[in-house]
């Protein structure tokens, strides 16, 4: 079960995450085998050693985990709980500015907003667009990050330092600045991109507007999003790759595994938790993307550029239909939860020690 085992046959790549069934005896680590601290992505369940288990019998020990999570739970409940309930409530009411300003209770609307939204064709267009955008961005981010992370293990140290330096600098860049740089680079009147493309013989890109055609516009927006997301993903994946024991790969190579095969059957299973983590986080972030679109379209996105985040914001703050905006936000969360079922199941399994 442990990392020092020989490579597993491809049929059982899941083994590292298999949680121990309650009470099942755990394989203890061979004493003396060096264990490195895990990277963010690596989420193997720590063995509940018999000692700890025994300790649970004492009442104080029983209370300890609750004491430990109490500050977090309290903070979440205090600062997020009430606004969340408010949001949910708001989506069932009909809040206008009059009630907002005067503090009187808005009339009850029941499921009206949900009914209107869900039967609106435009809403579903936006949902489809958001889903497509998310899939493309997450796919591109993960692919690029994985290639970069693998590359970083093969390059000379000074090249690796350069790559890390660039990744770090990109990561530190505020979205607002990144968006204005990209907007400027892709500007129709004085953008560098058009000028560069114009250098290619036969292409005339002078005054070409990238946002005329939403497909091209979204390509630019996806560019900013992916550009900003790759550092987190690549650095996390690279750290995870560092956890793959060299012996494991060597053993597999002795067995004749090469290239993709080696990656799929040996490397990937070890870094899979990190991949799942980064993918789901990217998906969550990209699904709710707001700032990049808002800033790239100068605070006035056209209807063609609405994704769920923007749509909800416009309904709330531009059209002042706070309740409709809230309902869209609630639906967004529900969709994310639905889409994350896979991820949630994985986590439940990780938490399966109960």
């Amino acid at each position: 079960m442990e990392t020092a085992d020989p490579p597993r046959p491809p049929e059982t790549p899941e083994t590292p995450e298999t949680p121990g069934t309650p009470g099942s005896p755990r394989v203890r680590r061979t004493p003396g085998a060096p264990r490195r601290p895990r990277t963010p992505g690596s989420r193997r369940q720590g063995a509940h050693a018999p000692g700890a288990r025994r300790a649970l019998r004492s009442a104080r020990r029983l209370a300890l985990p609750y004491v430990l999570i109490a500050p977090t739970v309290l903070a979440l409940a205090a600062v997020l709980g009430y606004p969340l309930v408010d949001l949910l409530l708001l989506s069932f009411q009909d809040m206008t500015r009059r009630q907002l300003f005067s503090g009187t209770a808005p009339p009850w609307a029941g499921l009206d907003h949900y009914r209107t939204i869900l039967s609106d064709g435009f809403f579903w267009t936006v949902v489809g667009r958001t889903a497509l955008f998310t899939v493309v961005c997450v796919g591109a981010t993960m692919l690029l990050a994985m290639v970069v992370a693998l590359l970083m293990r093969r390059v000379a140290p000074w090249v690796r330092m350069t790559m890390v330096g660039v990744l770090v600098a990109v990561w530190a860049m505020p979205i607002m600045v990144a968006a204005s740089i990209f907007r400027w680079l892709s500007d129709a009147d004085y953008g560098v991109v058009n000028w560069l493309l114009g250098l290619v013989p036969g292409l005339d890109f002078s005054k070409h507007n990238w946002f005329d055609n939403p497909w091209q516009g979204f390509a630019v927006i996806a560019g900013v999003v992916v550009w900003g997301a790759v550092p987190f993903a690549a650095i996390t994946l690279q750290a995870a790759l560092g956890q793959v024991p060299a012996e494991l790969e060597e053993a597999a190579m002795v067995d004749g595994a090469r290239g993709l095969q080696l990656f799929r059957h040996v490397t990937f299973p070890v870094i899979k938790p990190a991949v799942v983590l980064v993918t789901s986080l990217s998906a969550i972030w990209d699904f709710g993307v707001f700032n990049q679109i808002w800033l790239m379209r100068g605070g006035q996105p056209e209807k063609d550029y609405y994704l769920l985040g923007v749509y909800s914001f416009i309904e709330s703050f531009a059209v002042n239909r706070y309740s409709v905006g809230a309902a869209i936000a609630v639906i967004t969360v529900l969709m994310l939860l639905g889409g994350a079922v896979v991820y949630v199941r994985q986590i439940i399994r990780l938490g399966g020690a109960e």
């Binding site: 500015r97 005054k207 605070g299 056209e302 059209v319 002042n320």
Partner: protein
């Protein structure tokens, strides 16, 4: 580290406590002499004041301090683009600012929803002669809820040197003359440089396009039987939009899906003969901080823009007003601050900063020969956006911009695009 944090938290906690106690102190109904009044007066102005007349703000604060030595005026500057969501949140909460600046096309919705306290116009200088465009935006059911602050009207701006090169010595005085000048510019410079626009008119520039609609006698929206309806697809509005589109089609070569946000930067690149804009844009086009080119200094002049109808093109009379939130606990102080900030002396300072004053009496003080003279002339024909509760939503959801973009790029015919826009306007314009 932990200790430092808790000390920090404790410090902030104490401050909060003190502030809330200070808030409770003034519960008495007994009138307190002005010199004895104490506390904070929070004023939200937009960044224009910070950029263009910061001295006026500090002078008024100094005058105010003389009257109320113990009141601390806190001026906080806001961005136009993101101001309203902040105001919405603040007005919903307990600690509201005491004075807020509102664009004159934004006020109606706040008035309808009871956000502001009424003011007595008699207390303010020149309130009899307030510009209609600003005054109307502040009135509802016979009461006044905000105070006009300043106005702006768009004019034509042209490159004097380029026009001279095609043998024209003065600004155009009629629409045919304008078109003739543009033809000359286009022939002379446009053939050599395919990026040269004789006339700069980005496709989403709705203040310009709506001026043509107004010039043709059209409307953006009309009120019928108590309800507002989009009117862009009326015959006259379509005629105006068509005139706008023809002008753009003939003389503009740039990006059609842009708005006029970076107009000074584009004009500053030197490939524009004329454009339609605010008077200060002539200056911004020569200021490197807004992307302009200092080498062009002294080569811009303004003119009152002639419309196809034969009269001056009626400009959108944009402007700002100052309002006192109904929840403010310092309404009298706020009123007094606004009184000082908008009195005739202050208005004179605004005129000096190339802005139009809030009243017709002082409009005459704007030098006819100065850069703002044409704007003052055009202002008499100025118009405002429909005073409908949902107009703010129409603007913020980009209905006009998207219609114009579709027209400019040829995605839709004028009539179709206008019909679609009316449909979208109808959906939101009556909403509170």
């Amino acid at each position: 580290m932990a200790e430092r944090i808790s000390r920090f938290a404790a410090g902030v906690g104490t401050l909060v406590l003190l502030a809330s106690m200070a808030g409770c102190g003034s519960g008495d109904d007994k009138p307190v002499p002005a010199a004895e009044r104490s506390g904070d007066l929070t004023v939200w102005l937009t960044v224009d004041a910070q950029e263009s007349w910061p001295d006026l703000v500090s002078e008024v604060n100094a005058r105010f301090r003389k009257a109320y030595p113990k009141i601390n005026v806190r001026v906080q500057y806001q961005q136009w683009t993101s101001k309203n969501q902040k105001i919405d949140a603040a007005l919903a909460g307990q600690q509201v600012p005491d004075v807020v600046e509102m664009g004159n096309s934004e006020t109606t919705n706040y008035l309808v929803n009871g956000a502001f306290a009424p003011v007595d116009p008699a207390k303010f200088d020149h309130s009899e002669e307030w510009l209609g465009a600003l005054k109307d935006a502040c009135r509802m059911d016979g009461r006044t809820y905000c105070v006009p602050y300043y106005a702006g009207a768009r004019v034509g701006i042209y490159r004097t040197d380029l026009l001279k090169k095609v043998g024209v010595a003065h600004a155009p005085r009629s629409y045919p003359e304008l078109l003739a000048d543009l033809d000359k510019l286009k022939r002379k410079f446009g053939t050599k440089d395919k990026n040269f626009s004789a006339f700069y008119m980005p496709g989403r520039y709705w203040y310009a396009a709506m001026a043509f609609v107004k010039d043709a006698g059209g409307e953006m929206a009309v009120k019928k039987d108590g309800r507002w309806h989009g009117a862009l697809s009326s015959a006259r509005s379509v005629a105006g939009l068509t005139a706008w589109k023809d002008l753009l089609e003939a003389y503009y070569v740039g990006d059609r899906s842009k708005d006029n946000g970076d107009e000074p930067a584009v004009v500053g690149q030197g490939r524009v003969g004329m454009f339609y804009g605010n008077t200060w844009e002539a200056k911004a086009a020569t200021d490197s901080r807004s992307g302009g080119d200092p080498a062009l200094r002294g080569r811009f002049a303004t003119f009152a823009f002639p419309g196809p109808s034969g009269e001056l093109l009626p400009p959108f009379l944009g402007g700002s007003t100052l309002a006192i939130p109904a929840k403010s606990e310092n309404q009298d102080l706020a009123g007094d601050w606004i009184r000082m900030f908008t009195d005739r002396t202050a208005q004179r300072r605004l005129i000096a900063a190339d802005t139009l004053p809030n009243n017709t009496a002082q409009l005459r003080e704007v030098a006819a020969g100065g850069v703002n003279g044409p704007a003052a002339r055009a202002a008499e024909r100025g118009w405002v956006t429909p005073l409908a509760p949902g107009w703010g939503a129409v603007e913020k959801s980009n209905i006009l911009q998207e219609m114009l973009q579709d027209v400019a790029t040829g995605k839709q015919s004028v009539a179709d695009a206008a019909k679609a826009a009316d449909h979208r306007i109808d959906a939101v314009i009556n909403e509170n």
